[in-house]
C-alpha cells in the first residue's frame, strides 16, 4: 500500500506516492533523481547521505521518506545560489582541497554547513568532533578541517 507524500525539496514542492518502507535517501535518489546524495553504508554511520531536514543535518538513510512529510529538505544540489555560485562552504572545500574522490563530499559539506550554523566560530577540536559522523577515506580529514576553518573565518 503506497503512501502519499508531500514535502519541499530544494525550494520546490514535491508530491509522490511511495512504498512506506522507502528510505528518504532512496526517495531523493531514485524518485527525484537527486543523485548528489550518496549511500556509503547501510547502518547510519558513514554520513555520505547527510542532508538538511528543516535546517538540521540528518542522515537520510536513517529516515523513512514518510518521516519527511511536510518538511523542507535541502540536498547538495540545492546548496549553491540560484545563479550557480557555490555556497561558501563548497568554495572553501575546493580552495582547500577538501575532497578527492568526491563521494563523501556532499554529506561532508552538508554536515559542515550545519556545524557552522550551530557554532559559527568552532575550534579545530569542535570541528573534528562535529564531523565525527562523516567518514572520508581519501583526505585524512586534514584539508576538510582546513576548509571548515577557512569558511568560518570568511563568514
Amino acid at each position: 500500500m503506497n503512501v502519499k507524500l508531500s514535502l519541499t525539496v530544494n525550494g520546490k514542492a514535491v508530491a509522490a506516492e511511495v512504498d512506506p518502507r522507502t528510505l528518504l535517501v532512496q526517495f531523493l535518489r531514485e524518485h527525484l533523481r537527486l543523485t548528489g546524495t550518496h549511500v556509503g553504508c547501510d547502518t547510519g554511520q558513514c554520513g555520505a547521505c547527510t542532508i538538511h531536514l528543516d535546517g538540521r543535518a540528518v542522515k537520510s538513510c536513517n529516515l523513512l521518506a514518510v518521516q519527511a512529510q511536510g518538511a523542507e529538505v535541502t540536498t547538495i544540489e540545492g546548496l549553491a545560489a540560484p545563479n550557480g555560485d557555490m555556497h561558501p562552504m563548497q568554495a572553501a572545500f575546493k580552495e582547500c582541497h577538501g575532497l578527492q574522490c568526491g563521494f563523501c563530499t556532499p554529506g561532508m559539506v552538508m554536515s559542515a554547513t550545519a556545524l557552522l550554523k550551530d557554532n559559527p566560530k568552532p575550534t579545530e577540536e569542535q570541528i573534528r568532533a562535529g564531523l565525527d559522523g562523516n567518514f572520508c577515506r581519501c583526505t585524512g580529514y586534514h584539508n576538510i578541517v582546513k576548509a571548515v576553518q577557512s569558511c568560518a573565518a570568511g563568514s
Binding site: R29, T35, H38, M86, L99, C101, G102, F103, I127, L131
Partner: protein
C-alpha cells in the same frame, strides 16, 4: 622544472573535477539509470565452509517482480569460466602455484562467509532482496580453516582439494646461504614475530555495476566502479565469458575511492554482464556496505618472523624473513603477487644490507580473498624492515636516527640483494628534514612536560622506500605477470587548438583531470582551461592498464609526454611549411613554433587549424589532422622514499594513544601539483595510522564468521582520531622518465604504521614494554602497561 604558464607544472592548480563533485553533479555508477533496468541481489553463503547439497529456487522464482534466478549450476551449463589470477608464482621447487577454480557463483561448495551462491534479478532491488531470502539452500556445514598462522597445520580442513595443506605456494627470494653465513658471524641478532593486521579497504563508494546488452549491436556496455576498465574488460572477455573484446565496452565513470579494492575483476559485475543478455534487460547491482565487508578483497594479513643480523657497530649484515600470507578462499586478480613480488623485493628498504632472504608461504583460508590494498606488499615490507631497525636500535642502545644513517644507501644507482636497482634518492635529506620539522631536538622537553601531566610520550621513526611506476613489462613478465604494465595516452588537438587528452590511467580521487592537464598545458604552452582529460572508458581510450601502485603520472604521464612529443614534432613540420623554413630550423617555445634566430613564428593554435583546414599544407608529405597516441613501457620501477616521524601521547590509565604530531618528508621526484600531492600523503597517513591504531578485520577463529562486518565493529578513522599532518617534500628527480616523477599515492600508508608502533613502544619503553601488536588499541596498550608493571 617550473611553471611557465598559469596552472602549469609545479602550481597548486585547483581541481577541475571539484565543481561537479561539490554540487552533486558527479556521475558515479549507482547514479546511472538505464530505461528498463532490473536489479540484482546476490544470495551469499552464511557459512565459512559448506557443501551445497541442493538449491531450491522455486518459491523465489514465483515471488513478485522476479525476472530470473541463476546459480552456479546455470553458469556451469552455459560454460562460463571462473575468475583468473593475473600473476603466476613459481614455488621454491620450481612448481607453479596451486590455482583452484574461482567460480562466479559457488559450485558444490561455499568457501567463505559472503561467497556468492545465487543471483536474483528483479524489477526492483527490494523485490530481488525479498526473493533472495526465499531461496532455500541445503548446506552441509564443514569445519573451516580461518587463521593464516594455523591453516597449514596438519588436521586443518582443506579449502581446496588441490591444496590439502592449504598451501598455494612456498616462494623463496634472495641468497639463503649468504644470509645464514652472515647470521652465524653476527654480533647481534634482533628477532621479531608479528602479525600485519588484516584490513578492509572501505572506499566510501561501495562497488557497483550496471550491465547492458544491445541486441541491435550485439554488444555489451558495463558501467563499473573500477580502477582499470581495460584490464577489467580483458580479463572478463578473454578469460571468463569468452566474448570478443570489441563487443564489450567498459566504463568506469566517477569512482568513489579505490585503494586497490577496485582493481580486481569480481564475480558480481561478471555475472550481471553475462545475465544482461540472458534476460535481455539492463541489470544494476550496488553492494550494500555489509557486502563490501564480506566480499571486497581484503588487505595485508601476514604472520611474520623476521631477523636482522648486525655487527657490533649496528651495521646491518643480513636479514631473514619468513612470512605466511593469507590469500583467502580464492586467488583474487593480483593476490599471488602482493606478498611475494611486491613484498620481498622491498626488504632492503633504504639500507645497504648486503644479504637478504625471504620465504613466503601463500595460504588458503575460508575467508574473503586478500589482494592489493593501498601499498600492497610494500607496507608489509616497510613494517618488517622498520620495526626490525627500531627494535635493534633499542636493544643495542643506538639512537634511532643514527642507526638509520649508519646503514643508508648513499650512492646511486644501487642494486639491492633482492632484485631492484634504485636509480636515485637522498635518504639523509628526508630524514634531516623530517627531524627538523618534527622538532626532534625539543622532544625531551615535551616528554618531561607530558610526564608532569601523567602522560607518556614517544617518538617513532620510519624510513620507507617503495617500488612504484609499475612496471617494465618484460621484468614483470619474467616474474610471472600475465599482463603488460605499460600505459597509453592520446592527445587530440582540436582545430581551434584546444586539447582533449585520453589516458589509460584512471582517477578515483587522485585528480588526474587536473594534474595531467597541467602537464599538457605547460608542454604546449596553452591555457590550462583549454585542456580536458578523459579517462575510464574503453570505448574512447586506445588502451590502458589503469591506476594502482602509484603509477599514473610516472607511466601514464609519460605516455602523455610521448604523445605530446609526436604532436609537437608534427606541428614543427606544419609550421616549417607555413613559415617557409626547414623542419630542422623550427623550435617550439611558449606555445609558438619559431624559426630559430628570427622573429618569424606561428602560434600552436594556428598550426592546429592548418592541420584541420589544410589549404596551405604540405599534403604531399604530411597527413592532415593533429591527433597522436603513444604507448609507454617503463624501463625501471620508480623509488619514492621518505622519512616519517610520529609523536604519540599515551594515557597510562586508559591505554588511549593519541597521535600528537606526525611529520612526513617524502621524495616523490618532481612534483606537478603540490596541493594534490599533499592531499595524497594525508590520505595515506590516515589509512596507515588507521592500521596502526584502529583497524582490524576479525574472523571468529572457529566459525569463520566476520566479526567486524559493519562500521559499528570495524574502526574506521574519524576526524577526531587524527591530527593535523606536517608534510614536506625533498626532490631527487627520477632518472628514467621525462617528468622526473616517482609517484605519491601510497607513501603515507606505507611509511606510517611502523612509525606509529615504534612511537608507542618508545613511550612505554621505560616500563619495559618492547613490542606492540597492531592495532594498538586502548585495551591492548593498557594490558601491555599492566603486564609490564606486574
Amino acid at each position: 622544472m617550473g611553471a611557465n604558464i598559469a596552472n602549469g607544472i609545479g602550481a597548486s592548480a585547483l581541481r577541475k573535477e571539484d565543481q561537479r563533485f561539490l554540487t552533486g553533479a558527479g556521475n558515479y555508477t549507482d547514479d546511472i539509470n538505464i530505461p528498463g533496468q532490473t536489479y540484482a541481489c546476490f544470495l551469499r553463503s552464511p557459512h565459512a565452509h559448506a557443501a551445497i547439497r541442493k538449491i531450491d529456487t522455486r518459491a523465489a522464482a514465483a515471488a513478485p517482480g522476479v525476472v530470473a534466478i541463476f546459480t552456479g549450476e546455470d553458469l556451469a551449463e552455459a560454460k562460463v569460466g571462473g575468475l583468473p589470477c593475473g600473476w603466476l608464482i613459481t614455488d621454491v621447487n620450481g612448481q607453479p602455484m596451486k590455482e583452484p577454480p574461482h567460480p562466479l557463483l559457488a559450485q558444490g561448495k561455499a568457501r567463505h562467509v559472503g561467497d556468492q551462491v545465487a543471483v536474483v534479478i528483479a524489477e526492483t532491488y527490494l523485490q530481488a532482496k525479498d526473493a533472495a531470502e526465499l531461496i532455500e539452500v541445503d548446506y552441509e556445514v564443514l569445519d573451516a580453516a580461518v587463521d593464516v598462522a594455523t591453516a597449514t597445520q596438519p588436521g586443518q580442513p582443506a579449502v581446496h582439494d588441490i591444496a590439502p595443506d592449504n598451501v598455494c605456494y612456498v616462494w623463496g627470494h634472495g641468497d639463503k646461504a649468504a644470509v645464514d653465513k652472515a647470521f652465524a658471524a653476527a654480533a647481534h641478532v634482533t628477532t621479531l614475530e608479528f602479525r600485519n593486521n588484516r584490513l578492509i579497504p572501505n572506499a566510501i563508494e561501495p562497488r557497483a555495476a550496471v550491465a547492458q546488452y544491445s541486441r541491435s549491436e550485439d554488444a555489451y556496455t558495463l558501467h563499473v566502479a573500477n580502477q582499470n576498465p581495460h584490464v577489467e574488460r580483458l580479463l572478463m572477455t578473454a578469460f571468463v565469458l569468452g566474448l570478443p573484446e570489441h563487443k564489450v565496452r567498459v566504463i568506469a565513470p566517477d569512482v568513489g575511492g579505490g585503494f586497490g579494492s577496485k582493481i580486481f575483476l569480481y564475480a558480481e559485475e561478471t555475472v550481471i554482464t553475462w545475465a544482461a543478455k540472458r534476460v535481455n534487460r539492463p541489470i544494476k547491482w550496488t553492494a550494500e556496505r555489509s557486502e563490501s565487508f564480506l566480499a571486497d578483497a581484503h588487505g595485508r594479513d601476514h604472520a611474520t618472523r623476521a631477523e636482522l643480523a648486525l655487527d657490533k657497530d649496528g651495521k646491518f649484515l643480513a636479514m631473514r624473513v619468513h612470512t605466511k600470507a593469507n590469500l583467502g578462499a580464492y586467488l583474487s586478480t593480483f593476490a599471488s603477487s602482493v606478498p611475494t613480488i611486491l613484498y620481498a623485493t622491498l626488504l632492503a628498504g633504504q639500507y645497504a644490507t648486503p644479504a637478504i632472504y625471504a620465504e613466503v608461504t601463500g595460504v588458503f583460508t575460508n575467508t574473503a580473498p586478500v589482494d592489493a590494498y593501498r601499498g600492497a606488499g610494500r607496507p608489509e615490507a616497510t613494517f618488517t624492515v622498520e620495526r626490525l631497525v627500531s627494535a635493534a636500535a633499542l636493544e643495542m642502545g643506538i639512537d634511532q636516527a643514527e642507526i638509520r644513517r649508519r646503514n643508508f644507501i648513499t650512492s646511486f644507482p644501487y642494486a639491492t640483494p633482492v632484485g631492484l636497482t634504485y636509480d636515485t634518492g637522498n635518504y639523509e635529506a628526508t630524514l634531516a628534514a623530517a627531524m627538523k620539522i618534527a622538532d626532534v631536538a625539543g622532544f625531551p622537553a615535551r616528554r618531561e612536560e607530558a610526564k608532569k601531566r601523567g602522560k607518556l610520550r614517544g617518538l617513532g621513526y620510519s624510513c620507507y622506500i617503495e617500488a612504484c611506476g609499475l612496471a617494465p613489462s618484460n621484468v614483470a613478465g619474467a616474474l610471472g605477470a600475465r599482463a603488460g604494465l605499460f600505459e597509453a595516452g592520446e592527445i587530440r588537438v582540436h582545430p581551434t587548438g584546444s586539447v582533449t587528452v585520453f589516458t589509460g590511467s584512471h582517477s578515483h580521487g587522485q585528480g588526474h583531470e587536473t594534474t595531467f592537464a597541467q602537464v599538457v598545458a605547460e608542454r604546449l604552452g596553452i591555457p590550462f582551461e583549454n585542456v580536458d582529460v578523459v579517462h575510464g572508458d574503453t570505448g574512447r581510450i586506445p588502451f590502458g592498464m589503469g591506476t594502482y601502485g602509484s603509477r599514473s603520472l610516472a607511466v601514464g604521464g609519460t605516455a602523455i609526454m610521448k604523445a605530446l612529443d609526436k604532436v609537437i614534432d608534427k606541428g614543427r613540420k606544419i609550421a616549417a611549411h607555413l613559415l617557409e623554413a626547414a623542419d630542422s630550423d623550427i623550435v617550439f617555445e611558449d606555445g609558438n613554433f619559431k624559426v630559430a634566430g628570427t622573429d618569424k613564428q606561428v602560434a600552436f593554435g594556428q598550426v592546429a587549424f592548418s592541420a584541420y583546414v589544410p589549404h596551405n599544407y604540405p599534403l604531399d608529405r604530411l597527413e592532415p589532422g593533429l591527433d597522436e597516441t603513444a604507448f609507454y613501457d617503463p624501463t625501471n620501477f620508480t623509488y619514492p622514499a621518505g622519512s616519517h616521524i610520529c609523536e604519540v601521547e599515551i594515557d597510562p590509565e586508559t591505554g588511549v594513544v593519541r597521535v600528537v604530531g606526525y611529520t612526513a618528508s617524502d621524495d616523490f621526484g618532481n612534483v606537478i601539483n603540490p596541493m594534490i600531492v599533499e592531499g595524497q600523503v594525508h590520505g595515506g597517513l590516515a589509512q596507515g595510522i588507521g592500521q596502526a591504531l584502529l583497524e582490524q578485520a576479525v574472523y571468529d577463529p572457529d566459525s569463520g564468521q566476520l566479526l567486524t562486518g559493519s562500521y559499528g565493529d570495524y574502526a574506521m578513522p574519524r576526524a577526531d582520531d587524527l591530527p593535523n599532518f606536517k608534510v614536506d617534500t625533498q626532490v631527487t628527480p627520477c632518472t628514467h622518465n621525462p617528468l622526473g616523477v616517482k609517484g605519491c599515492g601510497e607513501a603515507g600508508a606505507i611509511g606510517s604504521p611502523p612509525a606509529v608502533i615504534s612511537a608507542v613502544i618508545d613511550a612505554l619503553k621505560e616500563l619495559g614494554v618492547r613490542d606492540m601488536a597492531m592495532p594498538a588499541t586502548p585495551h591492548r596498550v593498557w594490558q601491555a602497561i599492566q603486564s609490564a608493571r606486574a
